[in-house]
Each structure stands twice: as C-alpha cells, then as structure tokens.
Symmetry: C2
Subunit: 497 residues, 2 copies
C-alpha cells in the first residue's frame, strides 16, 4: 500500500492549505480591514494554485492507478478514501488548464458586472458576460460528461453532490412542483382565516440578540472550545478542521432573522464537528457534499427547532433573554411568525414551503442553459414565466428576478438543487431519527438535543464520505431519498389540527 | 534574466505561505478557540514544511547560480533581491535535514519542560534538555560558520541581523557595559532626591484604555484601513503584507503598560506598512532584520513618544480620554512615572537605561555557550554573577534568573543582541532625523508625526532590504552604528537641566 500512503501524504498537504484558506476566508468576512482585500485575494489565489498543482501533479494518475491495483489490501475507510481521491482527481484534471483559466476570468468578469448591474436593474450589461460564461460552462460540462460518463448537467452537479442523477432530481422536483403550489394556496387560506401575527416591537439591542444566539448554541451543544460566533454580512459556517466558526448578522427590529441564521449555521457546524477526526486530513473525512450539508442545517433549523416540542422549550428562553412582555410574546403568536408562509420573489427570504419552488425554477433553467436549449437572451422571460406558474407572482424587474442570485454570475451551476434536496433529506432523516429514538421529541421539549444528536452522530456525522450520498441516506433512513417525509411534515405542520 | 524571474515566481509562493501563516498566527493569539490549538499547530507545521521544501528544492542552487551569472542585467533592486534569495538559501540549506529535525525536537522538548520548570523554579529538570539543545546549536553554528565564513556565533546572529559581526557587537556592548552601571547610580541618586511619583489610581476600564490606544494610533497615523488593534496575552505586531495587526493587553490598574505596548507595536507596524509595496512578495521587500525592526518600535516608543515635546501633547490626550483629575494626572508627575528608572531582575520590565545591561548579560553568556566555554551546569551561577556586576542585583532563584526567558529553551540564540542594537540604532536614527527635519520636534509638540515619518519613510521604511543593515543605517544617519546618540539621549533625558 506504498502508493496509497503516498496519496495520503499528498492529501495532508492539501488539507493544510484548505484549512489555512478556511481561516483566511473566515477572517476576510469577519475581521480583515477592508483595505487588505487585494493582498488577501492574491494570497488566496496563490494558495488555490498550490492546491491545484498538488491535484494535477505529474505522476499523480499513475499513483492512483497503483493504489487502485492494491485496493484489496486496504480497509473500507481507505478504500472509500481512495474513491474520493479519484473523484477529486477527475474534477481537477478533466478540464484543460486553458479552459480553467478562461472560466476563472469569465466568472470574475460576470460577477463583477453583476454587482453593479443588479443594483441598476441593468440586464443588458450583464447578458453578454453571462452568455460568454455559459458557453464556457457548456464546454466544461461536455468535457467532464465525456470523462465521467454522465450527462453534462450531472457532471456539474457531481461536484456538489457526488453521484446524483438528473432523473432522480427530476422525479423529486416534479413531484414537489405538482404538490406545493396547491398546498401553498391551502396553507395561505387557512393562515388568512386565523389571527394575524403581531410583530414583536423592537429595537432589540445587538448585545441581547448575541446573548440569545449564544444561549441557543449552548443548548444545541455548540463546541465553544473549538468554535466561535461572530458577525458577518452574510451568515455562514466556516473555519477549519477542529475549529468550526459560524457568523450571523443582527437587525435592530428583527431578532428572528439572526436567530434562525444562528440555528441554521450551527447545524452546518455540528456536522463538520462530528466528522471522523481520525480522517480529518483526508477526503473521506470530509462532509458528504452539499445536499447532506444542507440537510444538517435544515434538519436543525426547519425540522427540530421548529417542532412544537422545541418551540415550547425555546419560547421561554427567548422571552427571558430579550426580556419582553405582552401579546406579541405569547407562544402562539411567536409560533405564527415562526411558521408564517408568504410567497415572495426572493429565494433567500422564502419560507420552507415556497423555497423548493424557487429552487426548481433555477434547476430547470440551468439545465436548459447547459443543454443549449435556452438562449441567455431569453432567460429573464423564462424566469418570469416560471416564477408566475410555480410561485404565483411575476417579478416587475430583473433585479428581483433573474439577477437576484450571485451563483450564475460566479459560474456556479449545478449547485441550486442541493438546497432543496437538502430540505427533502432533512425531513427524511429527521423522521428516521424520530422513529429510532422515542426520546427524541420529549428531549426537544426539555431542551435536550442529545437523543437527536447521538443518532445523527452515529448515522450521519461520523460517517464522513465512507458511503456515497444516496447510500448514506438509504442506510440511515432505510429508504432512498424521496419526498414523503417532507410532504408529511408540511401537511402536519401547516394543515393538521 | 530567465533564471532570476523563476526565482521571483518561487518567492511569490513562499510569500503567500508566509502571509497565510502570519494571519494564522495572529488568529491563534487573538481569536482561535483554545481547543483548536493542536489542529492549528499541525496546519502551521505542514505549511512550514512547504516553505522549507520550496527553499531547499532540487535545482534551486543551479537556478541561483544562473541568476547570479546574469546579475549584470538586473537593476539594483533585483540584484539586492537576488542577494537576499542567496542569503535565505544559505540558511535553509546549510544544515542537513537530519540536524534540522533534531533541533526541532530538542527545542520543542526544552520549551515544553521550561514552562513547568520555570513555574516550579526547577533548574535541574531543565538543565539536561537545554544541554542537549545547546550541543545541537553548536553543531548548527559550526556548520553554518564553515559555509558562510563567519564565526559560529555570527552564523546564528546572521539569521536575525544579516552581516552583523561579533567585534562590532562587542565594541558597542562593552562601551555600554562600562558606561551604564555608573550612569544608573547617578540617575537613581537624582531620582531619589526628587519628588516620588504618584501612581494614578485605577481601575481604568478596558474600554477607555482601548479608546486611548486607538486615539494614539490615529495620531501616529496607524493605517486602520489595512490594520487592526486587538488583545493578546503578549503584545505583538503581526498579520500579513498590507494587513498590519498589533495587539496589546489591558491591566486594570496600569494604563501605562498597555499604552507603551500600543506605541511600541505601532512602530513595528508602521515599518512593515512602509516597506516597498512593489516588492511585497520578494525578500528584498521585507524588513531589514531584527535590529532595524526593533529600532523602529523603540524609535517611536522610547525616542519620539518620550520626548518632552510629544509628552506635552500626549498628556492632555491621556487626561481627556481617561478623564481623571488630581495631582497624579499632572504632566510632571506622569513624566516622572514615564521616565522612572528602576533596576530589576526581569528584562521585560526593564527601563531604557537598564535594559541593555540585561541584553549584554545574555549576549555574553550565549556567546560563551556557543564557543563551548561555558558548561550548561554553570549557567545559573554565571547568570547571577553577571547580573550582580552589571545591574547590581542578585537573583534569589532561577525562576527570575536564568529561566526567565523562553528564547534559549526555544533554541533561539543570536537574537538577544538585536534588542539593544535596535535601541542604539533607534537613538542614532532619531538624532539624524532631528538634524534633517527642523520641524520634527515642533511637530511632535503639536501631535504631528508627519515630519518624522516622511523622513523615516524615505530613509528607512521604503528601503526594504535594498542595502545591508549597517549600510542602511550609515546611509540614513551618516555614520556607522555607534553608542553616541544613545548615550547623549540618556544624559539629556535623565541627567541634564
């Protein structure tokens, strides 16, 4: 297993660079003085090149082939690690350096243009940049498709959710697209018939909001000994192995926004924290892709923390820390706010019922773009049509329509589906955990997340990349990924009792 | 100049890793949760190995030789850069890998032992570890001495202060050792005859101390757009190119300590900030060694900020921000505290008159150790003798004697002299700046450091490593490094009027 061990040593170097970049990125968003941005960008670029050089070095493929030939002498974790090393090799080496360079340039130009174009609602200036970028993405997808033996769109998706198939995404998303719009109408009718929620009057001082976030993180078992909470413009979870750092932002008049971000990001952080430490420097020790990652944040935010049981425990905590009285602070009212369903134009503000429709829209459009079936010029119109048919609202401009997300201008295609596949997986995993752990819901009602977390530790977090994403889900839940639990939860939460 | 440009490209990679390590180190001391320490240590170790690999790569010496052969086609900055690349190559490659490894191990064991041994005043447990480490340091020094054609001690010193000669250090330190003890007695006699300083009564809230520090940094032109002030257990200046970060710590009852640290570290940071940006990724764009670095912090802390002119401006600022009244806050009293001379056992608490004696003691002992003229077992006795003869006090234990510093247990020999060579250089450079800029002292009196800083920018900061340290000092001040200005300043400050 000489060759395999050499691969491990090489991965250890890559992991060190990745961890360094993780902290540098966290620092950039939380601590770095603004004027250091150009210097930081060039340090990060240089480190990325070093990673890329390690991933594409001469002789690497021979080493992988040798290790694969010796695979019988490896244990299952080593074998899975080798599979992940091969997977990384394919993605790093399939595309010629020249195209990689063009992609970097085109996406940086499109992203830069997007910043001003979105603010000015100026689609015309963005369109040619996007068009050039999409052409290169089609090239990338075609080349990878050839190498990997999957469809071009799958080749892109595979970077974020390894092994995922279009047919499967289509089945899940078509199901939701057929189901949700009608459910949405029913929920809103019911909601309109009930009492209107009273928005708790702010302002809420940042210090109290932060205290509330920290108290919740403590309840959730956030590892403060090797983790942090800070402020950033966009909430995220990052850091390095053994050093999980989350951020939130505080709005004076809306404590809910920060709170939900804290719970969501804590879900991501606990996943990272629960990965197998023995494999921290190896691909097999990493999180199992973006669908699984999102399943862990949404399981905490949408499934566990929004359960009636958890809410009955959390509401008194919120009241105690923010120290307010009155009708707005009654549990029933907070629950109403918490579970408000309100279709809107903007994905990032969407509730859990509407959200998948935003994602399905993007999935269908980006698939058509990669297939060459949708011209960039027709994108705004297609967006508005689909938004109207799925969500029932038509954007009045492109700023809040096709230009609202940074993903496409950054060249990120194949990522969007993982948001809602993650939501679907979250429901399925939570349902399985509830079945397996009778004390799970009673635990939440007393602020004890341990029954849930021991199950997650054993079945998801500790498994790293030992299995492919779908195998991991099937092993943990007893069934392939499907919409049943997601739909059941929505029915129960919004349309029962 | 093909070969030279290849060397530049390689240095750019090293610079990216150095910058990343700079931020990781800063983070470790200011932000990192304690439990992340082992993971961080291994990331830093891995990045250091990558730097070392780049510095010792096959073919590198041939590349340097080729570049040296083409040197005539290089401009003066490129030639200086090549000289610095060669200098780095010699230090990285002179010592065989096996010895490097032994040194890392031995110093990490000695440093670990030191932590507990110092606390327990247990020299016996430290002695064998130090002895083993010193033997390896002698080996290192002997090998480098051979390669570099200098004395073994000079070979160690050269890492921190390139080109420095023992004969020169001896001359400067012998001069100070003959001069200072008697001056010290005179100053103390005079001091005892005057009014006793009244210590301003605390506590001083951290928030006000921090505000005072920030206000001073603003006066000093600290580049907040690409720099920060934070808290760390030991004040330091660090960060990365274009991102200078300093730290201090706050003591409830002593605002002076934090203030002096802020000014000192700002001096280091302004030096880094003023280095030639065009050469940021190259050795020639770095600071000119530790003597020069310390000269820049001490010039600000000891020369400029303790001048009567600066104090007349700063005292009202201190009074305004800390908001206190009474006799303790009179300018004369603050000046008395500020300039208190009080020989003690501990170097890091020493005043500017006593400090060089602490350094001379260490310099003489470590020179004897490297020369093999002083057995490790005899070190505590030699320390106490020398302390008594130079400073006039004899340590009662080894905790506050030979075991007080971490440098030797960490294997750092050849560094100590740069503290006081820096102090001597600070006085000489400040004197030259005063001669050249008639508005310098009047500027300080109105809180305007610009006349001082434009001179420093032009003559020191912007010069990077274009010249060797001594040439830089001689060009800037018109004379080789000597004690004249240092002694004149002490006479004027403590024994005149």
């Amino acid at each position: 297993m000489q060759a395999y061990l050499q691969l491990e040593a090489r991965q250890k170097k890559i992991a060190a660079l990745d961890n360094a970049m993780g902290i540098l990125h966290w620092d950039q968003e939380t601590m770095m003085p603004a004027g250091a941005a150009p210097a930081r960008a060039s340090v990060l670029a240089e480190l990325s090149v070093m990673v890329h050089d390690l991933e594409t070095a001469d002789g690497l493929e021979e080493l992988i082939l040798q290790a694969e030939a010796e695979a019988a002498s490896l244990n299952p974790w080593q074998q899975a690690n080798l599979r992940e090393i091969r997977h990384g090799f394919v993605h790093a080496n399939a595309v010629p350096a020249e195209l990689v360079e063009k992609l970097v340039l085109a996406s940086s130009q499109a992203a830069m243009t997007w910043r001003e174009a979105r603010a000015a609602d100026d689609w015309a200036s963005l369109e040619p940049k996007l068009d050039a970028l999409f052409a290169l993405k089609r090239e990338e997808a075609a080349i990878k498709s050839e190498v990997m033996g999957v469809t071009p769109y799958e080749a892109l998706l595979d970077q974020f959710d390894p092994g995922r198939r279009e047919s499967q995404v289509d089945r899940i998303f078509d199901d939701l697209a057929a189901y949700l719009p009608d459910i949405l109408l029913q929920i809103r009718a019911r909601q309109d018939a009930g009492p209107r929620p009273i928005i708790p009057p702010g302002p809420f001082p940042v210090e109290r909001q932060r205290e509330l976030g920290l108290e919740l993180m403590k309840i959730l078992g956030f590892p403060f000994d090797h983790g942090r909470l800070d402020i950033a413009h966009h909430p995220f979870s990052g850091g390095a192995s053994g050093d999980v750092r989350i951020t939130t932002r505080y709005e004076d008049n809306d404590f809910m926004a920060s709170l939900m971000a804290v719970i969501h990001e804590t879900g991501h952080a606990l996943y990272e924290d629960g990965l197998p430490a023995d494999w921290a420097t190896q691909p097999v020790g990493k999180s199992r892709g973006m669908t699984l990652h999102e399943s862990q944040s949404l399981l905490l935010e949408m499934q566990a923390a929004r359960s009636a049981e958890a809410i009955s425990f959390l509401v008194p905590v919120i009241r105690r820390v923010l120290g307010s009285e009155g009708a707005a602070w009654e549990a029933d009212n907070l629950l109403r706010i918490y579970r408000r369903v309100e279709p809107g134009l903007i994905r990032v503000y969407a509730d859990e019922v509407t959200y998948p429709l935003h994602v399905i829209l993007r999935y269908r459009l980006e698939k058509a773009i990669i297939a060459g079936e949708l011209a960039t010029a027709d994108l705004p119109g297609a967006w508005n049509e689909l938004m109207e048919s799925l969500v029932g609202i038509r954007p009045r401009d492109n700023r809040d329509g096709v230009m609202q997300d940074v993903h496409w201008p950054e060249g990120i295609l194949g990522y969007f589906p993982t948001y809602s596949l993650g939501a679907v997986a979250a429901a399925q995993i939570f349902a399985a955990a509830k079945r397996a752990e009778p004390d799970l819901l009673p635990g939440l009602a007393r602020g004890d997340f341990q029954p849930l977390f021991s199950w997650l530790d054993a079945n998801i977090r500790s498994q790293g990349c030992l299995y492919m994403p779908d195998d991991l889900i099937a092993r943990a839940t007893g069934a392939p990924l499907g919409t049943e639990a997601f739909k059941a939860n929505i029915l129960e939460r919004y349309l029962s009792s």
